[in-house]
C-alpha cells in the first residue's frame, strides 16, 4: 500500500516522500519485519530461511536465538515459539535499521505466550536498534516496551511510558485500555471538596475542585471489597452493589460489582465468602481516583 501524501524516513534514508515523488520499494528499506504468523518459507530449512537475505552470518543469529540445533529442520516441524525465533533471526540477519513486530504474541497459546514474552523481554533491549511492536494487549506492551503509543482509529491518543499511561491516562480510552474502571458521573463543589454523583447513584469524593460531567478512572488493584460498610470517611470512597461475577486465576481473583471490577487475593475472596448475587462494598482511596475527562471544566 502506498500512502497518498507525506514523508517517511528512517534516519538519513527517505522511504517515501509524496512531494518529491520518492518511493523506496520494500527490498530497499532496511526494515526487519516479523509477521504475526511468521511467514517462514516452508520449502526451506531454518538455516536457508535465515540466510535468505544474503547476509552470510546465519550461524551467528541462529546461535544468538538459541536455535542452532534446528538449523536443518523445516518450519512445519517447529513449535510456535521456535518459529518466532526463526522469524526474528531471519529479520535480524538482514541487518535492519529498525525492527517491526506485528502482534508477536497473538499466534501463540497462553502458556507459550508467557515464555516467549520473557524471551523477547531479554532479547529486544540487546538489539541496539529501535523496535516497534504492534499489539492489542496492554500487558504485552507494558512488559516489552519502554514507551507506548495508544492509537485509536489511526490517531495517536497518548505516547508515554507504561507507568505514566497508568498514572496519568489522557482520556477514558487510554484509561480503559490500561485496565482501569471508568466511573461516569456529575461533579459539584461542596465546600473544600468535590462530590461526584455517579451514574450508578453512588456519591464519591474527588480531591480536586471541579464541576460538570466527569469520567473518573480507578484501577482494579486499588479497590478493596468488603461485605460490611467501610468506615465513613471523605478519604475513602465506597460504592455499594451486588457481586455480578467472580473469576479466579491462581492466587488472584477478579470480582465485578455493578460496573466496577476489583482485583483481590484469592485469600480474601475466601475470607469474605463472596458469592455471585450477594451485596458487597467496593472502596478505594479518594486520592487514588484519576480524572480522565471532564466537560465543562471549571475551577471553583
Amino acid at each position: 500500500m502506498r500512502p497518498a501524501a507525506g514523508r517517511i524516513a528512517c534516519g538519513e534514508d527517505v522511504w517515501f516522500d509524496g512531494a518529491a515523488g520518492r518511493f523506496a520499494p520494500p527490498e530497499r528499506r532496511r526494515v526487519g519485519l516479523v509477521y504475526q504468523e511468521y511467514a517462514l518459507f516452508p520449502h526451506m530449512t531454518v538455516r536457508q530461511n535465515v540466510e535468505y537475505s544474503r547476509e552470510r552470518r546465519a550461524d551467528e543469529y541462529l546461535a544468538r536465538l538459541g536455535i542452532s540445533h534446528l538449523a536443518d529442520a523445516r518450519p512445519d516441524r517447529l513449535s510456535g515459539g521456535e518459529r518466532q525465533r526463526v522469524a526474528l533471526a531471519r529479520a535480524l540477519a538482514r541487518d535492519p535499521k529498525v525492527l517491526l513486530l506485528d502482534e508477536p504474541l497473538s499466534a501463540l497459546d497462553a502458556h507459550t505466550k508467557v515464555d516467549v514474552r520473557g524471551e523477547l523481554q531479554e532479547l529486544l533491549p540487546s538489539l541496539e536498534i529501535p523496535v516497534l511492536i504492534v499489539t492489542h494487549d496492554f500487558e504485552d506492551a507494558a512488559t516489552l516496551a519502554g514507551s507506548v503509543g495508544v492509537l485509536v482509529e489511526g490517531k495517536l491518543r497518548q505516547l508515554a511510558s507504561p507507568a505514566d499511561l497508568v498514572s496519568r491516562p489522557s482520556d477514558p480510552f487510554v484509561a480503559s485500555f490500561t485496565g482501569a474502571n471508568l466511573i461516569h458521573g456529575h461533579a459539584t463543589v461542596d465546600g473544600d471538596k468535590t462530590h461526584v454523583r455517579t451514574s450508578d447513584g453512588a456519591t464519591i469524593t474527588f480531591p480536586e475542585l471541579l464541576h460538570g460531567d466527569v469520567v473518573l478512572a480507578v484501577y482494579p488493584w486499588e479497590i478493596t471489597i468488603s461485605t460490611a460498610p467501610p468506615p465513613d470517611s471523605s478519604a475513602l470512597n465506597s460504592i455499594h452493589g451486588t457481586v455480578k461475577t467472580i473469576s479466579e486465576l491462581g492466587h488472584r481473583a477478579r470480582v465485578t460489582l455493578g460496573s466496577i471490577t476489583a482485583e483481590i487475593t484469592a485469600e480474601s475472596l475466601r475470607a469474605l465468602d463472596l458469592r455471585v448475587g450477594r451485596p458487597a462494598y467496593a472502596s478505594f482511596k479518594a486520592t487514588g481516583t484519576r480524572l480522565v475527562s471532564s466537560s465543562p471544566v471549571s475551577e471553583a
Binding site: A39, F41, H43
Partner: protein, 257 residues
C-alpha cells in the same frame, strides 16, 4: 473406464504393435506429434507462467475479463478454434496480409500444428498455474521483499518453488490435451503426412485403410500417455521427496527407481 484401453491391446498382439512402429505412416506421425507437442508446451510454459503469475498476484481493472479470455479456448469447440485461427492467420485473414509481408505463411505448415496445439491446450496449464500461484501465501512474497529480494528473486526463490507441483500437474494436463488435439489442427494445418499429420490425424486417416495400424497407433498414444503420467509422478516424488507433506498430485512413495 478401462474397457476401451484394454480392447485396444486385446486386439493387437505386442509383436504386431512393434512391427507397426516401423510403418512410415506411424513413424512420421510420431515425429510430427513429438516435435509440435514439445515446442507448443515450451511456448505455453514460457508465455503462460508469467501471465498466470501476474493474474494471480495482481488485481487490476479488467482482471476477470483477461481470465475469461485466457480460458476461452477451453470452452471453444476445437473445430471452431481451428476456423478462428484460419480466419486470423490465413491468407485472407485478419493478420494474414501482415504476416505475408514478412514472408510468413502459417496455415497448413508444421508451425500451424504447434500454434493450434498451444492455443487449445494453454488454458489447462494457465488455469492450474493461476490456482497454484494463488495458493502461495502473499505474506511470503512480501516477507521476501522485506528481506532485500526484488520481484524477480522473489519469484524464482519463493513463488516458483512453492507453486512447482501445481505447475507440473498443469503441464501434464496440457501436454495430454495437446497430444490428442484433432479438430483445430485439421482445420488450421490439414493432415499432410510427414508435415502436419499428428498421431490422432494419422489414426483417423488410416481408420478406413488399415484398422490394425490404427489400433497400433492408438496403443502407442496410450503408452505415451501412461509413460508421461508416470514420469511426471516419479519426477514429482523425487523432487519433493524431502518435502513430505505435499500430495496434490502424487501418491505415496511406492514408486522408486
Amino acid at each position: 473406464m478401462l474397457l476401451p484401453i484394454v480392447a485396444i491391446f486385446a486386439h493387437t498382439s505386442p509383436g504386431h504393435l512393434v512391427d507397426q512402429l516401423s510403418n512410415p505412416v506411424v513413424t512420421d506421425a510420431l515425429e510430427v506429434s513429438f516435435k509440435t507437442s514439445v515446442i507448443a508446451q515450451l511456448l505455453i510454459v514460457a508465455l503462460g507462467t508469467p501471465t498466470a503469475y501476474l493474474l494471480a498476484t495482481h488485481r487490476f481493472r479488467g482482471h476477470s475479463a483477461v481470465i475469461t479470455l485466457v480460458e476461452l479456448p477451453l470452452v471453444l469447440p476445437p473445430a471452431v478454434a481451428g476456423v478462428g485461427l484460419l480466419a486470423a492467420f490465413g491468407r485472407f485473414g485478419l493478420l494474414g496480409s501482415t504476416l505475408d509481408a514478412f514472408g510468413v505463411h502459417l496455415p497448413f505448415t508444421q508451425s500451424a500444428v504447434t500454434v493450434a496445439v498451444a492455443y487449445v491446450a494453454s488454458p489447462l496449464y494457465i488455469r492450474q498455474a493461476i490456482a497454484s500461484f494463488e495458493a502461495v501465501d502473499a505474506n511470503l512474497r512480501s516477507a521476501s521483499r522485506t528481506l532485500g529480494a526484488g520481484p524477480a528473486r522473489t519469484f524464482f526463490r519463493v513463488s516458483l518453488p512453492l507453486a512447482r507441483a501445481g505447475l507440473i500437474a498443469g503441464l501434464a494436463l496440457s501436454f495430454a490435451r495437446g497430444l490428442g488435439e484433432f479438430g483445430a489442427t485439421i482445420m488450421f494445418a490439414g493432415s499432410l503426412q510427414r508435415v502436419t499429420q499428428t498421431l490422432p490425424l494419422a489414426i483417423y486417416a488410416e481408420f478406413d485403410q488399415d484398422f490394425d495400424t490404427t489400433l497400433a497407433m492408438s496403443g502407442v498414444l496410450v503408452l505415451i500417455s501412461i509413460v508421461l503420467l508416470l514420469g511426471l509422478r516419479i519426477g514429482l516424488t523425487w523432487r519433493t521427496g524431502s518435502n513430505s507433506r505435499r500430495s496434490a498430485f502424487l501418491y505415496g512413495p511406492s514408486i522408486s527407481n
